[in-house]
Amino acid sequence: MTELISHRDVARLRTASPGPLAAEPAAAVVTTPGRPPVVLVDPTAGRRRTTRRRRVPPEVRRFLGPALLFALWWAVTGLGLVSDRALASPAAVLGAARELWRSGDLVDSLGASLYRVGAGVLFGVGIGLALAVVAGFFRAASDVVDSAMNFLRTIPVIALLPLIIVWIGIGESAKIFLITVGVAFPIYMNTYAAIRGVDARLVEAGQTFGLGRFGLVRSVIVPGAAPGFLVGLRWALGVAWLLLVFAEQVNTDSGLGYLLNSAQSWNRTDIIVLCLVVYGILGLVSDGLVRILERTLLSWRRGFDGT
């Protein structure tokens, strides 16, 4: 025998008093002779989706966070909560951007910085990848290379700066060298781990079906290690921008860091904030590039994207 009970009456179930029948029962008491009564409740109770939720497109949601920050900035400066000296308003920053764009300073600085980061990332990725491949494929090499890399990794890269200046001076190559060193480590660590982590069962399957050494590398090891390499690349790009700021503090007459330092001595917070915004945009752009690379290289993955 089954009794249907409404939401309102679920709480009263303990006293087992029968309630009025509801259109959509939230619970029911089932009684079978000779057995204790069983209370059935709707497991989805209260959380049922009655209408389709309006979904905000992910691009819009992604944009929402920065937009909120921007609004906060605008409000804080526009309402005069902080002085213009301490933090320039968005309008002032836009004005500074226009001024520096017209004079060509912004383009020159950007070009110089992009060149340094680009060259440093190129060399760093090349070296890190080469070391990871050698250490990943040859057991003898791995003993030597991996222990050395793990030892060197513990030294903060910025601490190398004095030594770099002694070795190769304070010119352009010193800046590129610093970024190269900083980039090589995350690339190496992640790629090496990824190569060593390639599923041995897939390697065995490849051997069974007649893949030679080169075929194994091309068809199994490289694609298998690609996700790890891309994680390293993303990390390395973050390191590269960080080291750029440090490198450009040392005797420079061009680049974003130089512009930043000069703005500080000119007391121009609008230019300082402009530089920070440009750094932010550059970081976003490089992250987006890796994202595109991931989407094309790892299109085979049907990973978990979150809900």
Binding site: R201, R213, V220, P223, G224
Partner: protein, 288 residues
């Protein structure tokens, strides 16, 4: 575990019987498995192999891991076209034998000869997740008609039209069928299957049995089918071998009229015998 790109030959005994015996040590296909020509001059083969050559010939095979003797003096001959099921409890060394015949194990003692063209279907499909279905099937093959051969093999396992699917989008049964196509496209003389349907649901498994039987009739490879499922072994095999603690404890032909039915008294008698050999007596009534 590190990818095994190098075969560490130096750790092996140079006086190794597997190398001393028979032909050249298998160019390209690794391990201590020597090549056995299909039309081999085979005089010492078992009764089934006599005068017909053999796809597998193993004499006095031993495999020791440290102190632990996993395979202890095995003799095995599989005739061309013969379907042999290998039963054994887990840990009895079934997979070790497959690994040795597949050429993945360097540390063997004894004579080990296996057909040059051999393929393996593993328990997991082991498809490369970053290659679509067709390149997975034709993996390691070269030649102009490779894609057509791959398509034909996929058609044989009933997967026409899935050539461009990613492995991650396949169901378990579909993935195993692709693995079968990948094994068969090579026209193997010896097909080894290591619990290939162990991870599939019961309904898919029944369909896979029919498919495997049909494919074996058409291609006539010698088959070594490792399983722990007694019914599966009786349904499919010409001969069943039981591996117990590193030795073959039973080697019986399957004399059940086809089409084989579980209700056939001969089927049931063999099942009871095999289960008893595997140490399961309490199911002697044959129903489970």
């Amino acid at each position: 575990m590190a990818p095994r790109l190098r075969r560490n030959v130096s750790t092996q005994d140079p006086q190794h019987p597997a190398y001393a015996a028979g032909a050249d040590p298998a160019p390209g296909v690794g391990g201590g498995v020597a090549v056995l020509a299909r039309a081999g001059t085979d005089d010492a083969g078992g009764p089934a192999a006599a005068g017909r050559g053999a796809a597998v010939r193993v004499r006095g095979l031993r495999r020791v891991f440290g102190e632990h003797v996993v395979l202890d003096g095995l003799d095995l001959t599989i005739a061309p076209g013969e379907f042999v099921a290998l039963l054994g409890r887990s840990g009895s060394g079934k997979s070790t034998l497959i690994r040795i015949l597949g050429g993945f194990d360097d540390g063997v003692e004894g004579e080990v000869l296996a057909a040059r063209r051999r393929s393996v279907v593993f328990q997991e499909s082991r498809l490369l997740p970053w290659k679509r279905v067709l390149p997975n099937v034709t993996l390691g093959l070269s030649g102009r008609d490779v894609a057509d051969r791959g398509r034909a093999a996929l058609a044989e396992v009933g997967l026409s039209g899935r050539e461009r699917s990613w492995p991650a989008t396949l169901s378990g049964g579909e993935a195993q069928r692709v693995a079968l196509a990948r094994a068969l496209v090579r026209e193997p003389e010896l097909l080894m299957l290591d619990e290939p349907f162990g991870a599939l649901d019961a309904l898919t498994r029944i369909r896979m049995h029919a498919l495997l039987q049909q494919l074996c009739r058409r291609h006539q490879p010698a088959v070594l089918f490792v399983t722990h499922d007694v019914d599966e072994a009786i349904l499919l095999a010409d001969r069943v071998i039981v591996l117990t603690e590193g030795r073959f404890s039973l080697d019986v032909p399957v004399d059940v009229a086809s089409p084989r039915r579980r209700t056939d008294p001969a089927f049931d008698r063999l099942r009871v015998t095999l289960l008893a050999e595997l140490g399961v007596d309490d199911l002697a009534d044959g129903s489970h």
